[in-house]
Symmetry: C2
């Protein structure tokens, strides 16, 4: 596939990256609806969410937010906007699930649901990055510890 083929679908590199991020936004909107509709427990929902990151580890890939984050200051505005949109979307998804889990006694944590969501998100995003450098075992222990913490 040549670069001109990409330019047929996206008029610029900026547009391409914004498009990629938009695809992730849609993916997580889908996941959100799916989780809402399901009768799953909060634990099952969180596990489903974590699975997305485990998949990234499995194929030596990383979280799109992580790849964009380190260049954030030099990115064009359209890409910045899509990035914040994606982060807020994912954060709300996790936060909601944590709140549900706390209410029905599945999860136990002291901080606000948002803070807990921040801790989990940062563990996962950086964990995926670390997996490519220092090995997949590190990601595995993060994942285990994370779930254990939640269960109290």
């Amino acid at each position: 596939m040549k670069n001109a083929a990409v330019h047929y679908h996206f008029k610029s590199k900026e547009d391409l990256l914004a498009g990629i991020l938009e695809a992730y936004v849609q993916e997580y909107q889908m996941m959100d609806k799916q989780l809402q509709a399901s009768g799953w427990t909060a634990l099952q929902k969180i596990e489903k969410f974590i699975e997305r990151y485990s998949y990234l580890v499995a194929c030596n890939s990383i979280c799109i937010i992580g790849s964009v984050a380190s260049d954030y200051n030099t990115l064009p505005e359209s890409v910045k906007e899509k990035t914040t949109q994606l982060i807020e979307l994912v954060m709300r998804l996790v936060e909601k699930t944590l709140q549900q889990g706390k209410k029905n006694g599945e999860f136990h944590f002291e901080e606000t649901a948002r803070t807990r969501a921040l801790l989990i998100m940062t563990n996962l995003a950086a964990g995926v990055q670390l997996a490519r450098i220092s090995g997949k075992k590190d990601y595995a222990s993060i994942k285990v510890a994370l779930l254990k913490q939640l269960k109290g």
Copy 2:
């Protein structure tokens, strides 16, 4: 300053990046010695360590490991080596401090010290990245929650 001035000190871009990472290695080796020599409590040591990340947030910068991590697969070997060296160094520093804190009853955690170190490192590294995107408050709550968790 022109690019040729940089080439005077570092023969290639690869060399420059390896040099930057080496400077970080030396910085953290210094910090390690300093912490060893001090009669500080484990909490004081961890706080000193976290302060480094808070400083990055303050000047809108990010953790070097985070910046390198997203491009890791395409980096030259010399840079990869320095990166793993830096990560292992920082990990050992945190792990040691956590172990000390657990032994003398300052800290309370269930996982191994290494796993706990992983959780803290990922919280901080990704927290710093997030601070540039969704704001410094998020980093602040991560920092607070992190210390509270440790104290039990």
